[in-house]
Amino acid sequence: MSGDFVDQIFIRAKQLLLSLLPGAPDWLLEIASSVINIAALLGAFLTLFALISVLERKILARIQNRYGPNRVGPYGLLQPVADGIKMLIKEDIVPMRADKLLHFLAPIMIAATAILALGVIPYGRNMTPFAIDGGILFFFAVGSTTELAVFMAGWGSNNKFSMLGAMRAIAQMISYELPLIITTLPVVMVVGSLSPDSIVAAQSNYSLGLVPHWFVLTPWGAAAFMLFFVSGLVESNRTPFDVPEGESEIVAGHMTEYSGFKYATFFMAEYFGMFAVSGLAVTLFLGGWHAPISALQIIPSYVWFFAKLSALLFVYIWIRGTLPRTRIDQIMNFAWKFMLPMAFTCIIAAAVWHYEGRRLAGWLWSFGLIAVVHFGLSRLLDTGKKFAPRTYRFAE
């Protein structure tokens, strides 16, 4: 493939950098390579963070039929720089009787976990910063520490609202962590390995050159992707489920007592969490860095990855712009009564798909199973409460 050079450009750059240190002991080389990876990772995602924060506000504005920030830089593209500087200048207030240590540690820990999670996702052909055998497991292990960090934040600020927000956030994140993990199970089962590279490799070939073997195209894969996407949304406390920092209710949830740079880190950590979850979604279901059709393989792998990633991010922002906030008990019920059973059915559907020989028959069977369960569950959970017709009252 002619594009190989372009494809492997970053790896070769890294080799180049490493060659600057000839004769160094291997452990030094190891550390150097990992430092380079980390630096590249941070660089890429910080720029993406900046871009997305602006784009989000512009897209939301567009959704709300208004312009987004366009004063700073062309079309407002430099807005993040401005925000960054603002954040840095702001005074960092620490509540007097707050638990100084926790207050200080919380943002660091959240940011750390988010970045760590990003470390295992394959961005391109052999462009995985840390290829761990149990990569997926590492991702979730690290993911689960965010709850702890949120708690530290809530507890540290010694403020009722932040405590309440922290508890809501934790409750929400814990109950959605389960469907998140169980939906990845079918993929791991089908692929037979926990490492993201092998998962992406399993989705490599195309049938008839047109239809890629992405898992999302299988019935159970689609269902699992949707469930994964929703629980990802909840994990990162995004709009329909952003109850913790529900501005109208409890100020900013566990982040109320933060200001200045700590608040910025929280903000950044949230976005990084979003990147991590959607990155994983891409690797698991959308074929990682594979091109949609075999013909387009000439375009380098990492381009495909980031394209899919930004597509998902757009959907995030899109959803944020459209859906109203849901009540915390609705979220809980939805998680335990709908998401969990559906997740288990995806596993069974994947098994059925696999044992029917992965051909059309398998495809139909698993589709049928998922449809039946979905229909059954929705009928079961249908409370039959009709929403009252909206009555508009104009403010006098």
């Binding site: 149990g134 497991l137 292990a141 689960s144 520490t145 708690f151 507890w155």
Partner: protein, 160 residues
């Protein structure tokens, strides 16, 4: 098996553990416990059992630490006066420690260096789990459900 890594991790873990045992404020103790768990995970990585390390992090840090923290949260109204430190416990702990160390140091055969072993892959663990340890797996599943239900029942609001 780098000695440096071993020393660093052991320092980290022991410090965390000691902090968990001695810090006056409960929340700090709980969080230092998290540090110890991470140190344990690092140990497991050092010993070549990544999977166990990950599970350790996943279970202990993800679940147990959160539980502990939540419990501290729910029992906050019990004013945090310093309960003091019961020194007899310390004496017993130290005595037991010396006893154990004496037992370990007495057996010379233990002082062997880590042999080269093929890396322990998750596939190998899955294999063994599904063949040799199927029955214990089911039992642990049952146990966890029972614990779940038990904990729920225990914690339910007492009907006044």
């Amino acid at each position: 098996m780098s000695a440096v890594a071993f020393v660093l991790i052991s320092i980290l873990t022991l410090a965390g553990a000691l902090a968990a045992a001695t810090l006056p404020r409960l929340i700090h103790a709980a969080l230092s416990l998290v540090v110890t768990f991470l140190g344990m995970a690092a140990f497991f990585f050092l010993l070549g059992a990544e999977f166990v390390g990950l599970v350790q992090v996943f279970v202990y840090v993800g679940a147990v630490a959160v539980l502990i923290v939540f419990t501290i949260l729910l029992t906050r109204r019990d004013i945090e006066k310093d309960r003091g430190f019961n020194w007899s416990g310390a004496v017993i702990a130290i005595a037991v420690f010396t006893g154990l160390i004496w037992a370990i140091l007495r057996t010379p055969t233990l002082a062997m260096v880590a042999p080269q072993i093929p890396p322990l892959t998750v596939r190998r663990i899955g294999e063994v789990l599904m063949t040799g340890f199927v029955w214990p797996l089911q039992c642990v599943g049952l146990l966890l459900t029972a614990a779940l239900i038990g904990a729920l029942i225990l914690v339910r609001e007492e009907k006044r």
